[in-house]
């Protein structure tokens, strides 16, 4: 098998896998990146990138046939014509649910880096100490200071638009100019600032859309088309394809192999290290072995854990990393589908042009400083203001020329915001192997058994009421709050199941993301998270990955791995 030997293997090509491949290849390692799905070439394969509503046979909508074919995707906005083919389907990639679990997966080159929401926030110092302070789960083995320089590092390369606000709750970073707020948002922001005496802030979203060209990466910049999910021919947002992959390729050290399902990490009992991975070719069903000195698991939170559960089962029945009893446990996400909206009077003489990829953000303020609630942790809001259009008039009276003319003009201003709440790590929220159900390749699937617990449910009351109160304080009218279903996974921020910690008895990974039981295996996607914060996690995966790759290379140099 010498012909399949590399210095490093990276499993997965999404946000964290792309970073791992780039960093390791730039450090001179010969890297093999394995992707379970097909290749998608930057620009060339963004088939729908210039399509408009009228180019789709159903104007972009899902059909009843699609709904019948993909019942799990049909639960959310993930089912539509523009992105069809981009979300893993229930048919080929089943999973089972003890409790409803939304698992939205991108099985193709670039993974969900092509399909992500791009909101990019740093964790704050307290996020890393909260578990210890609250006596919940286990303490993080790292602190904000460990990650801060790596946040700087990845932000500069990825390109994050935002404003420096000087808030402890949401540390500033290396920002490009922000995506602008509109007149109504600016006005509401001022009113909230005043009403809450500077304790609550409505700020620009921090987003991985570049507001200035990055010619060194051949990225033109955001064109305000709001078509990010179709792949951006302008390199307007950070994705593996637009950013990390070209850099990794430029080194000449990277090999990419699509259609490569990693079925297990190969483990050597004597050296107590991994020797490589076994790959099932998704097209030919042939099995291959690839060997390497180090392995980075970046297969996405639950799939990295799935691989570990299937590895070294002759040593540990429940798989590599299971010796602590925590592998597969403490699955987290952000809970959402709760917030408020209303109409704004005035500003009839103001409008906007361009389609933003984001809106405003209200950072966490609950259980912060002197604020104390009947739950721990907190939440932030994302939202935007815009003028209504023809869509609000279907059920209203009117036909004919006057009706048509009225529909052709913008209507009243609306503003809405939805909360993103922290979910606590809880041992009983778990995923496990279900060997009674097999996927298209005969591989066992994951079974999901997780739901919101009492702390989250108490928090949701505030998430709805606070949104209504803030809009009220800002003079917004016709306020309507909502609180919908929020199964785990719906936030598409799966975290945990292979947490970092200080003690191999209670954690799967150490402070450098190494599997305690196999130190040359690193897990740097969302699986490593020990708690969830309430901010969008991808930026943290980037920083965590960059940090771990540099550590791994240093250890290789010292011959410690």
């Amino acid at each position: 098998m010498a012909n399949n030997n590399y210095d490093a293997i990276v499993v997965g090509s999404g946000i964290s896998g792309g970073w791992a491949a780039k960093e390791l290849a730039e450090k001179g390692l010969k890297v093999l990146m394995l992707e379970r799905g097909r290749n998608i070439e930057h620009i060339k394969d963004y088939t729908n990138a210039f399509h408009e509503a009228w180019d789709y046979p159903h104007r972009g909508l899902a059909t009843q046939q699609m709904k019948a074919d993909f019942p799990k995707l049909a639960r959310e906005y993930t089912l539509n014509e523009p992105t069809q083919g981009m979300w893993a389907t229930d048919k080929e990639h089943p999973y089972t649910e003890v409790k409803r679990f939304d698992w939205f997966r991108g099985y193709h080159m670039g993974g969900r880096s092509l399909l992500w929401g791009r909101q990019s926030y740093r964790w704050n110092a307290e996020d890393f100490t909260a578990n210890a302070k609250d006596g919940i789960a286990i303490d993080w083995p790292i602190r904000y200071e460990d990650l801060a320089p790596w946040y700087d590092y990845v932000e500069k390369f990825a390109g994050i638009a935002g404003t420096r606000e000087g808030l402890d709750v949401l540390p500033d970073g290396q920002f490009l100019p922000p995506v602008p707020l509109n007149m109504v948002e600016k006005d509401v922001a001022k009113r909230i600032e005043k009403a809450y005496k500077g304790m609550r802030h409505m700020i620009h979203s921090r987003t991985a859309n570049i507001t200035q060209a990055m010619p060194e990466q051949n990225r033109v910049g955001c064109q305000y088309r709001n078509k990010c999910w179709l792949g951006c021919p302008f390199g307007g947002y950070f994705s593996t394809q637009s950013s990390t992959l070209p850099a990794a390729m430029a080194t000449g050290n990277l090999t990419v192999r699509p259609f490569s399902i990693v079925t297990q990490v190969l483990y050597d009992k004597d050296s107590k290290k991994a020797t490589g991975v076994e790959v099932l070719d998704a097209q030919t069903n042939q099995t291959y072995v690839f060997t390497s000195k180090i392995i980075f698991l970046n297969a996405s939170t639950l799939n990295s854990t799935w691989i570990m559960m299937n590895s070294a089962t002759d040593v540990w029945q429940d798989g590599l990393g299971s010796s602590s009893g925590e592998l597969g446990h403490n699955v987290m996400d952000h809970h959402l589908s709760v917030g408020a909206q209303g109409t704004v009077e005035g500003f009839e003489d103001k409008y906007y042009s361009g389609r933003r990829p984001c809106g405003f953000y209200i950072p966490r303020y609950r259980n912060w400083g002197s604020d104390k609630r009947d739950y721990v942790r907190g939440f932030g809001y994302q939202g935007s203001a815009s003028r209504s259009n023809w869509q609000s008039n279907v059920a209203e009276l009117g036909v004919g020329a006057d009706f048509k003319n009225a529909l052709a003009e913008p209507g009243a201003w609306n503003i809405g915001m939805g909360g993103f709440g922290e979910i606590l790590p809880d041992h009983k929220n778990k995923v496990s192997l279900d060997k009674s159900v097999k996927d298209k390749w005969g591989l066992p699937v994951l079974s999901m058994d997780a739901e919101l617990q009492a702390n989250e449910l108490r928090m949701r009351k505030d998430m709805k009421q606070d949104a209504m109160d803030m809009l009220e304080a800002a003079g917004v009218k016709n306020i309507r709050g909502w609180d919908g279903e929020s199964p785990i996974g719906k936030g598409i921020h799966e975290m945990g199941t292979a947490r970092m910690g200080k003690d191999p008895k209670t954690s799967v990974l150490n402070k450098h993301n190494q599997v305690w039981d196999a130190p040359n295996v690193f897990v740097t996607d969302g699986a490593c998270m020990t708690s969830a914060s309430c901010v969008n996690p991808s930026l943290t995966y980037m920083a965590m990955t960059a940090r771990a790759t540099h550590f791994a290379v240093e250890e290789l140099k010292k011959r410690n791995l």
């Binding site: 789709y56 046979p57 104007r59 009843q64 014509e81 409008y351 042009s353 036909v399």
Partner: protein, 203 residues
């Protein structure tokens, strides 16, 4: 050995070795022919004549100019639930029956004033019927993932209106000539001045 050499060659040529085939990611969809639906070209004609009363040609194109009937019935066929589709099919029959009763001729033969009179009446009937069923809101989209399967079906004219508005304002003609559309805005201006009469953005 061959494999290794192949990898090297590809790597030398492109800087990266790509092994394995390619397949479409973002799927391209082909247009749906009317023949694959339960609707006929007569239905399309009737729908267009109703839709053109809702969105008539003024100094800008109207529903018939955009042939919304064809799009609307494809959407009704493929995106509607069984209940919604049945209500629409029955509604198209009802329109002709009511035209016959009130004016003594099929809807297509009504003059412009009669059509407007009848459709205005139908609009009010629909509003009243929906209110009685406590249906105060309808999604603007003919596919609504959140639609409650036990919910009452709206009056058929409300479905026609939904299909008309959606099909028209998402058509190229409606979006670019009645509304405003810019494919590549290039920037966001959050302080654009607006005066009454300026058109809304299509998206």
């Amino acid at each position: 050995m061959e494999r290794r050499n192949l990898l090297k060659m590809i790597a030398a040529a492109t800087g990266v070795a790509m092994v394995g085939g390619r397949a479409f990611a973002y799927e391209l969809h082909s247009p749906v022919p009317l023949s694959s639906t339960v609707f006929s070209s007569d239905d399309v004609m009737l729908f267009n004549e109703v839709a053109d009363v809702i969105i008539p040609r003024t100094d800008t194109p109207g529903a018939k100019d955009a042939n919304v009937g064809l799009m609307a019935l494809i959407l009704a066929n493929d995106c509607y639930t069984q209940e919604e589709r049945s209500a629409l099919v029955q509604g198209l029959v009802t329109i002709d029956q009511q035209a016959q009763q009130r004016f003594g001729k099929p809807y297509l033969l009504l003059d412009t004033a009669q059509k407007l009179q009848y459709i205005t009446q139908l609009d009010e009937d629909a509003k009243r019927a929906n209110n009685q069923q406590e249906l105060f809101y309808l999604s603007s989209k003919p596919y609504d993932k959140d639609r409650d399967e036990n919910a009452a079906t709206p009056h058929f004219f409300t479905l026609i209106k939904q299909l008309t508005l959606f099909s028209f304002f998402t058509s190229k003609l409606g979006a670019t000539e009645v509304l405003r559309f810019e494919a590549i805005p290039g920037k966001y201006n959050g302080e654009l001045d607006y005066k009454k009469g300026d058109r809304a953005w299509a998206t």
